[in-house]
Symmetry: C2
Subunit: 343 residues, 2 copies
Amino acid sequence: MNTVPDGLPEAEQRLYAQIVGEDPMPRRRAIAKTITLLESTRPEHRLRADELLNALLPHTGRSLRLGISGVPGVGKSTFIETLGMHLIGQGHRVAVLAIDPSSTVSGGSILGDKTRMEQLSVHESAFIRPSPSSGTLGGVAERTRESMLVCEAAGYDVVIVETVGVGQSETAVHGMTDMFCLLQLPNAGDDLQAIKKGVMELADLVVINKADIDVNAATRARAQITSALRLFGHHGNPEHAHHDENLWHPQVIQISALKSTGVDDFWRTVSQYREVQTRSGRLAARRRAQDEAWMWERIDAGLKARFRAHPAVRDQLAGLSSEVRAGRVAASVAARRLLDLFN
Amino acid sequence: MNTVPDGLPEAEQRLYAQIVGEDPMPRRRAIAKTITLLESTRPEHRLRADELLNALLPHTGRSLRLGISGVPGVGKSTFIETLGMHLIGQGHRVAVLAIDPSSTVSGGSILGDKTRMEQLSVHESAFIRPSPSSGTLGGVAERTRESMLVCEAAGYDVVIVETVGVGQSETAVHGMTDMFCLLQLPNAGDDLQAIKKGVMELADLVVINKADIDVNAATRARAQITSALRLFGHHGNPEHAHHDENLWHPQVIQISALKSTGVDDFWRTVSQYREVQTRSGRLAARRRAQDEAWMWERIDAGLKARFRAHPAVRDQLAGLSSEVRAGRVAASVAARRLLDLFN
C-alpha cells in the first residue's frame, strides 16, 4: 500500500511517502507543501501536483466529509473548535479547510484562521488550512477540493470544509462534502432571513447554535425550519419519499457550542446520517455524482476561459453583450454569432 | 414603426409585415410559420429565423411574461383557460406557450394542447402553441423563448409560459418570465412534497387552486407556505429586505379556477407585482439579467457540444469519466487532460 508509485519525480516521491507515512511532524509539513504546490499558478507546479494527486488518490475517500456553513456571528469557529477537540478525544484525526469567497477580493482569508481555534490549531491530530485567497470561486473550490484529498490520504478521517452564508460558496461546499450542515441562530425572525436564497434547502442538517440564549425562540425556530424543510427540501422520488426508511430527512437540532452542550447530539446525528446514507448506497452515489459534476464544472470553466480569450470573440463580446442588454440583438442570435467566431 | 427593415429576404419581409400588422387571421398564420422556422433544424432556416427575429426585436418587450407551473392534476389548463378568457374580456391579447420536458422523450407534447382549452383556443385574441417536442431542454427552452418574442411583436400583451413541476424546466421558465407562479393543491401534506427541490423558492406567487374543496386545508397550506417562503425565499440585500417598500415579497393566494372564483384576485396580485417591480426598476433589471444569462447559457451549451464532438475528446471522454467514477483519476486532473486534447 505504502510503496511509492513508479514514475513520480523525486521531490514528489518524498512528499508522497511523508503524507501516507506514520510520522506526524513531517506529515503535516508535507501536506502543507503539497497544498502550496496545488495552489501555485506555475504550469510546471500544476503538472507535478497532478501526478502527486493521482498517486495519492487510492488512499483517499475514507474520511467523512462535513460541510459547515452559517453567517458571520453564528459561532462557526467556536463550534468547530469544540467539535474538533471532541472528535480528537474519541481518537479521530480532524482536518479543517475553508472556502471564503471574500478572500479572493481582499487577498486575505479570515476563515480557517488558526488564531480562532486555539486548542485545535496546535493539536497534533488536527490540520487547519485557511481558504485559498486568489482566483475565481471555481478555482478556489478546486484547490480546497484537492486539499481535502491530500488530507484524506494523510489519514484525517474527518474533513470539515467551512464556508460563510453567501450562496455560491455553499453550493461549492455542498458539491464536495458528504453532509452539509447549516448553523443558525435561535431568533427565527429577521436573522434567519440573512441566509441567501437557495442555501437552506442544501442542508442535510440544520444546527440551531447558542440555543441556550433564548430557549423558547430556539424551539420556535426549530419547528419553523422543520416545517419549511419538509415543504422545500424534498428530493428524490416523491412517491417513495415518506415510505423509504433508507432515506435521510433533513433534521434540525439545538446546541450550545460555547457551553459544549449538544456536540454529542450533533455527532450522533452525523453518525446516524452516515450510516443511513452508506447503507442505502447514497453516500457512494453522491460522491460519484460529485466527481463527475466536478469534472464537467472544470471543463466548462476551461472552455469559457478559452472562449473569452479568443481574439475574434474578445473583439465582439463587449459590443454584442451591450446590444443584447439594450434589446437590439436577441440573446440566442448573439450566442450563435459569437460561437461562429470561435474556432 | 411598421416599415419593413432593409435587407430582409422577401419571404421574411412578408412574415414581418403580417406579424406586426393589424389583420388577425394572416397574423396568426404568420406567427405559426415563424415559430415553425425557429423550430427547424436546417441551418439556412435558422439563419433566416435569426434575421427575422432581430427585425422583430424592436417590437418586443411590451407584454407581461407570466410563468405558470404545477404538478399534473393541479388544474393548470382550467386555470389558464379561465384566466385567459377573463383577460380577453378586459381587452388583453393572450398567448400561451409551453415547455414540456417529457415531450422531448415521447416526441409529442401534452402541454399547450388546444383541446384542453376549448374556449381560449378558438378565440381570435388568443394564440396557443404546444411545447417544442424535440431537442435538449436547453434547445426546447430556446425555441419557446424566441416564440415568446414573436408573440410580443404580434401584440400579445400577456404571454403565459406553462410548465410541469419537474425542476429543470421550472428554472428555464423562471429564466424567461417576469413573474413565476406556482399552482398548488390545498392538501398541505404529502402532495405538496411532490414539488421538486428548488422549485418552490423560484415562486413570486403561490396559488392554492381548488381551495373550495377543503377550506381548512387550504388555509393551513397557505400559512405553512407563507412561513416557509419567508424562511427560504429571501433574496437581495438581507439588511434592506424587510424595510424596502419597493421589494416584492412572495405571496400565497387561494382560488378556485373551476368556479372562476379568485381569478380577479390573482390578476390583481399580478398587476400589483408588475407595478412594484416596474417602479423599483427590478422588472427591467430582471429582463436584462435574463437576456445576458441566456446568451451565456447558449454559449456554454454550444461550447460543450463542440467539445463532446471533438475527435480526440470523444476518444478519451468515456474512459476518463469511468476512471473518475472509479476513483482512479482525480476529477480536476481528468478535466485538465481532456481540455488539453481539445484544440
